[in-house]
Amino acid sequence: MELQKGNFIRIIDANQGIIKSLCKAYYICPEDQKDAFQDIILQLWKSFETFRGESKISSWIYRISLNTVLTKIKKGKTKIAAGSIGTSELSISIAMADGDIELLNIIIQSLKDLDKAIVILYLEGYKNKEISQILNLTPTNVSTRLNRVRAELKIKFENQHYEFKQP
């Protein structure tokens, strides 16, 4: 048991960036982020016993973390401000964005919960099929949602001129 705990802590320690990024993507209030972080750690620990290493550790972390956050939001445990930014407010925010990370944050905050999960996994480099497996969706659903997000962003970016600092 102690050995298992040691292994678990080592894995979490090496992948805290993923978990914290997801918490920040879904929750604005630091207290909510901390609460979500603890819930994710607990769920990861509960499923650690059944993790057989068939998938990559990062994929397992993304699967458990995103499903925990999405379930938590669905249950309405905490109110989030994300996903409520209108097109006009988003255009103003994009124009004022100072740096790629700030722009990324603005865009992520403007997305609906499930679309946000899909976009995050896409940005992480996962293919549509892998995203569908992680989120228990069909590949067609993932592809449709991604195309919709792309189309929405295209409209929102139409009159914006943002130069990415990193190619």
Binding site: K5, I12, K20, I41, L42, W45, D100, L104, Y122, L123
Partner: protein, 61 residues
């Protein structure tokens, strides 16, 4: 707007968030606290069942 343009920013964001990691003790505390709660719940359930059986026996059931 190409989503691919945001990929380096996501990597950077993830890296930034790994800069101030939570301590190993704190992670251990989260999982051990949950285990403690679970043990207490089980103990309560066992005691409740034993008490119920005892009450039924005392009533001559």
């Amino acid at each position: 707007m190409n989503l691919n343009n945001l990929k380096p920013a996501w990597q950077q964001f993830r890296l930034l968030n790994s800069m101030q990691p939570m301590g190993k003790e704190e992670i251990l505390f989260i999982i051990e606290e949950a285990e403690g709660l679970s043990i207490n719940r089980n103990r309560f359930l066992i005691n409740f069942i034993m008490f119920a059986v005892l009450i039924i026996c005392c009533h001559g059931g």
